[in-house]
Amino acid sequence: MKLNKPLNVSIAGLEFNSPLILASGILGVSPPTMHILADYGMGGITTKSIGPVKRKGYPNPSIIGLGNDTFLNAVGLANPGIERFSHEITEIKKKEGLVVIVSVFGDNSNDFARTASLAEKAGADAIEINISCPHAEVSSIGVDPKITFEYVRAVKKAIHCPLFVKLTPNVTDIVKIGMSAEKAGADALVAINTVSGLAIDINTHRPILAHGIGGLSGRAIKPIGVRHVFNLSKAVSIPIIGCGGIFNYEDVLEYFLAGASAVQLGSCLYYGYDIITQIRDNLIRYLETRKLDSISQLTGLAHHYKEIGFDD
């Protein structure tokens, strides 16, 4: 670790010049915009989840705000399909120093594997598999350790680059799923995807999102994410990328202390691109004040406090 770059992190052999990574599903379609995010301080970007074929997703309303920096969405994995999206991946990859993670999904493990392989060929540095979107069919994969194992194994066999597995919090025991993914060859875990939720309009008596059930993101889910990262990091030895409700540098630090080696940002982009730079600069300031050479030194420090009951 270079002393002059306290925010450099390394995950599965990939060097990130910032631990801040764009979360899947947020803004992840326009290559120039991905490059702009890098300029503002993102070390990596994760594309929208891409499937084997074009998919329209659900009608609107598909993303709404609930107040208090909390959001509910059911986009339904809308995406152009890997063949049409490949040239966008190649374009995104043109930015020097930006780690490009392509999120993929499919109807079966072959679809996942084929889509991942095509994404890698187009230039992806890493593949993230979405087995956890709470408002689409893929959610049934990430709730079962055996099926998770099968899908992770299939994708791992099809690619040469690192494989990240994004986990759902909508399970009884996320640790079992995480361990299963590790055993199948995952190079890192991403925790957490959105929390399953529902909002109902009291005047029309109807769920607001066109799809009904959605995924809750934003400030409200941060403690859930931090808890899951903490428990996962006790059980697995692969790196964990923390995700869920990060709006400032303190939130990033919490995830690191719980055991994360990097983090993903999503809902906070509600406040514009400047928030990335603010978080990055405040992290550097925090490390300088504490005379820490690297943010990685913070990973998992909260585990020292064993007297606290961390189990359910």
Binding site: L27, P61, S62, I64, F85, Y270
Partner: protein
Amino acid sequence: MTKNEQSITDKPFTTEIKSVVQETPLMKTYYVSFVVQGKIPSVIPGQFILVWIPGIDEIPMAISHVLDNGDIGFTVKDVGEATHALHKMKIGDLIGIRGPYGNGYQLKDGFSIIIGGGIGIASIRLLVQKALQKNPNHLLVIVGAQTAKELLYLEELQEILKPSQMLVCTDDGSHGNEGFVTMILEKNLLHIKEKAGANRITVYACGPEIMLTNLLKVCNTHKLELEASLERFMRCGFGLCGLCVVDPLGIKICQNGPVLNSAVLNELDDFGKFHRDVTGEKYRIDSNHG
């Protein structure tokens, strides 16, 4: 526009349609109360709302009317499934509103030329009102439509504007001058420049994208500043879905737009050429993209 705290109105606020006015054969204006938690919305001309038609869709609509009691109005052209469903709704029916979203027109000192084409006239209506209050002597409004029947707010505009402040055109010549708003602007530019004198001239416009791209060319040629309102497909309205981004500046139509100025428009590769569809796929505007 960067916010400091999340707006309570990012969640659809369901409210009854209070009145409906048939403006043209294909256009209706809907009025609703939009006072959320006691707050009357503060609306900048050019801003938009997302209108939820329960069970059908949610679509962006320019705010065309703001009343003193907090009621707002928006004019809808019956062009697709969602707008058609809206056209069938009656007084008392519930719709959801969230917003207002985006950056509106920044009315500047000097001479203002305000241009609306077709349903785009809905976006400039509040700006015309504001310009009339601010500087009525340095104002010209140009409105155009395909035919006389589709000229929106014509009677009202003729009432509040003097004949010298207004030019009307239709593609088929069925009302006013025959031709496009860009042609009318160029034809009258010498006269407008005389009227403006030493004052800076700014053009504000909303209409079909082809009209706006042509307008930008005219404005660039004659060194006039342009503020134009663009339209893109969007899901969230607050900068997260990324579908309304215009390349290569990372500009989000929902947050940084919908109104963009010449400096930005001149840098946009997408302007007049590309949109993104519901899946995020980029396509040429002139293609038969399904």
